[in-house]
Point group: C2
């Protein structure tokens, strides 16, 4: 029997609950958002006793379905004030799923000024006081927890950024190599920090495992699904070879690579940081160009990036990070960016928010554009130590804008705008504006259709069709985020006719149900509307579904494009 | 003929405009809010080119009417994101009125990284580049401008806080003694700083003066009005003798004196900082216990507070400042608070926001509660120099709460809650929640009726009648703020039947019109609704008309009171 684990940090008590009937068909984002919307008062302080932190594996997590091992974390975001779901790979999702844990809900705040850890096992969840690892970085936490509890132990942890309740703080997840994947964006690490939980360890020994109602049907569907992933040129070839960083050259050519704090759309140093260069560097240094963030991933878009001596430098080294420190901060040294990525993994801080933030800090004169060594120093000495400057920086781009009175701050709902200029790739601008979680490319990745010719083509420079494109992708993404699937399954799902039916077949075979494609679309709509309702309760209106003023007034090279959607056009998005 | 002066800082051009018919009957807050609502896009960045800074003397300013010399400043607030009007005494209002300047509108942002000053005279307004006074404190600016242009020159200036675009920055006004009065709250100094205007000098030589349509009627009404001010025990006796600081003992006895960052309602050190002690200290040291913020003030609630050697230390030393650094920060040394007040005058930073902020910073551990010398040091060394810590502090209580992850942050719409605990004085809580400008006691000063038995009595600890009380006072205040009158005329206006008709008679005699009491009420309603409409356009909803969570859950001594209004009860406020 699946169960809910509930931890009350005010009472320092835990309990095991049965799964309410209304939650039985939900998983991942669908479940975290449902629980947060049902149990968290929308106007509460995100770092106060009334916020709740919810973890939920997806509907297919723990099954042999390819790429299904992602974990959703949800809460009210301290960065945006909206509802937030963030999903990540790593080993925790599949362990929780195998333990039959539908969701782990953490509520309340401890009275004492002490730190704690949680331990999840087949017997439920327990709370221990923690002293040794307080103040330590994520790598040290994983090492220590493995030493205490065994190499196979799952770990969810916060670094110094989370302890300091910085609103760019991640919740970090141990990956199959004992390195780090991240629940990034939205500052969920600060919520975990506010609840004084340094880490959560997971032991899945004796786990009942995931039962599949119709194993034969599942096997057939899983095979079709995996084939689609491998057959598609993006998920089967581009991403495995060059990682997500394949996008540097593509976006640079498209003129949509935000450069120098979004002041132009192409970066002179692109060649030095692009996926092709990275691939060759990794191979030359004896690293791993392919790597999966969780067991069962067959796309393998990740990689292990070594330093010049061939030693581990970083992994999970993504396009958005490399774009942000590269083009947006004008740092053209991939080793510096890799070093920064490693430090951010250890501090547990969101690399997108932090990159966007540094570009604003450079505009404010805190350090010069292009100063890679300066970035690393500020990460270690200021953010890592929680100095006043570190607190300004660790709270993201909006915080730096406020502190220094800067008006060119690329954020929506106070969250940094990622790696695609919305003036030159207009569909993604609709996603940034309307996402329930602030600027987020993953919420409805129109780059697929605007740039990569996946799922058809919508001209990135014209307004026509963008609202519909973003709407359809956001609905589909909300559903996919509920399955535990990696977002990159969207590429074959958009182009290969057998892919999506196979995904639905796997869900049906897993639960012995008979969902249709329409049911899945309705799930996506339900998730978005549930999230939107929470946000309305928190005081958000369509006036918050807007890009910053400077996108309307500053044309961006090379297309001289501005953001030219009217309010009415943007608001059309919610017509579903 | 009255005129509008318009300054375009983008083009570095100025022009003189005729007064549109729709603005002719407006002055002060009514006019600044009308202009801001008409000309500023509500979603614009407050520090960007689209915000406008508007100054307007009141309808009666420049006439011999007692206490009519206040100037309104308006813009979109960088602190709250709402519309903002802030009025202050000093010499500028009457000079502008005598020059026939209905409003001075400053728009745009200069392209060059240079500072400027404006000079207003009978010939209009001119723009000069300014280098010498950049970075200087307000006292030095006033001294230098007087040296350049003559002792009688009016001055509106920003200190380092405004130059640094801190959201707690004031616009400071030269008073009759060449000291400082402040357009406080809401950070209008940052708006002036964003427009790169260090100061505005005013020369009223050759001014046509204010014409009065019916001088005899005016004189009679003015006499009745002045008599009412002098006859009322609060405006005629309490305020002149002890200043606004008479309230320390009154609020302490009422259990509504927020202490130690709003954690209790009475301060053990009240006796050391109260108005009675301050009065005796001033007298013993040879200071001035009575002082007017502008010529024609007959209440004289201000004072000049000397140091132990009898030398000028500060003036305009108000209850809210003394409460904030005293009870809320637990500093029981009046000389330390006076020193802080003087430094804040020089930096040009809001003493209420800054006091509320320091109490939050003390809760965050930045410095200990009660550390008066520490406060003075942080003002000078951090805020004054714009260090990273100074920028966190200079952006007010909400900023400190965000930087340090503190949840007990007494703000509404990000503006610090002033000197009256809304749990124990419930009427003022309705004002804090619903004011169009964030927490602001002056927006509808229910203390009059809740505590001082002025205008009747509404029990401060009960919910009954508070919404209506706050609504009526906010409507009346919006009208009074349009006349150029000091808010303290409300005391006689509420109790002495002849007072309000005399005020209306003065307006009628000045303009040769025939307003009724209902017209004045309608003016107040119009002002509030205009402001509310702007805020709705900026994305504010009734969800923002709420006090912080901890007022609902933490009972405050000595009454063990919590904030217990339902959302529906609060929202009743806007039913007019």
């Amino acid at each position: 029997m699946d169960k809910i684990l509930r931890v009350d940090m005010s009472a320092l008590s835990t309990r095991i609950e049965t799964v309410p009937a209304a939650w039985a068909g939900l998983g991942g984002r669908g479940l975290t958002s449902t629980i947060v919307a049902a149990e968290v008062p929308p106007t509460c302080h995100p770092l106060g006793a009334n916020n709740k932190l919810v973890f939920a594996p997806g509907l297919l997590t723990g099954t042999p379905a390819a790429n299904s091992g992602r974990l959703s974390a949800g809460a009210k975001s301290p960065l945006t004030g909206t509802i937030k779901e963030s999903n990540a790979g790593g080993t925790a999702a599949q362990m929780l799923a195998r333990l039959g844990i539908k969701a782990l809900i953490i509520e309340g705040l401890p009275e004492a000024d002490k730190w704690y850890s949680l331990h999840v096992s087949k017997d439920g969840v327990t709370i221990q006081e923690e002293t040794e690892l307080v103040g330590k970085g994520n790598f040290a936490v994983i090492e220590a927890v493995e030493a205490r509890l065994g190499k196979k132990t799952g770990v969810l942890t916060i670094g110094p950024a989370g302890e300091l309740k910085m609103t760019a703080a991640n919740i970090s997840v141990k990956d199959p190599d004992s390195k780090i994947r991240s629940h990034g964006r939205g500052g969920l690490g600060a919520v975990m920090g506010s609840k004084k939980i340094k880490f959560i360890s997971i032991d899945d020994q004796g786990a009942p495992g995931v039962k599949i109602a119709d194993p034969e049907k599942f096997k057939t569907a899983a095979r079709t699904f995996a084939k689609a992933l491998l057959d598609h040129p993006v998920s089967g070839e581009g991403l495995p070879t060059y990682g997500t960083n394949v996008l540097v050259n593509i976006l640079n050519e498209a003129g949509g690579l935000p450069t120098r704090n979004f002041s132009t759309g192409q970066f002179a140093g692109a060649e030095k940081i692009c996926g092709e260069t990275m691939h060759d560097t990794i191979v030359a240094r004896g690293g791993k160009p392919k790597h999966g963030c969780h067991a069962g991933c067959i796309i393998q878009c990740s990689q292990v990036y070594p330093d010049k001596e061939g030693k581990y430098k970083t992994s999970g080294f993504e396009y958005e990070t490399i774009w942000g420190f590269g083009a947006d901060c004008c740092i053209d040294d991939l080793d510096d960016i890799a070093e920064a990525d490693n430090v951010m993994d250890d501090l547990g801080i969101d690399s997108i928010e932090t990159a966007v933030m540094f570009a604003v800090a450079m505009e404010a004169g805190v350090l010069p554009f292009g100063d890679g060594k300066g970035v690393i120093r500020l990460l270690r000495e200021e953010i890592g130590k929680g100095t006043p400057l570190g607190r300004i920086l660790g709270n993201g781009a909006g915080s730096v804008g406020n502190a220094y009175g800067i008006t060119r701050v690329p954020v929506v709902k106070n969250q940094g705008i990622p790696a695609y200029d919305p003036r030159s790739v207009k569909g993604i601008g609709i996603t940034y504006a309307t996402s329930t979680m602030g600027a987020d490319h993953t919420a409805g990745y129109t780059i697929a259709t605007n740039i990569l010719n996946v799922g058809g083509y919508v001209d990135p420079l014209k307004k026509e069709g963008q609202v519909e494109l973003s709407r359809n992708l956001q609905i589909a993404t909300a559903a996919v985020d509920s399955t535990g699937m990696c977002i990159f399954i969207a590429f074959p799902a958009l182009d290969i006719p057998e892919c999506l039916p196979a995904l639905i077949d796997m869900i049906n075979a897993r639960f012995g149900i008979a969902l249709t494609g329409e049911d899945v679309t309705n799930l996506g709509k339900y998730v978005l509307k549930t999230e939107r309702q929470f946000n309305i309760g928190a005081g958000f209106t369509n006036k918050h579904d807007r890009l910053p003023e400077f996108f309307y007034t500053e044309p961006v090279a090379p297309h001289n494009a501005v953001w030219d959607f009217t309010d009415e056009e943007i608001d059309e998005y919610w017509n579903f």
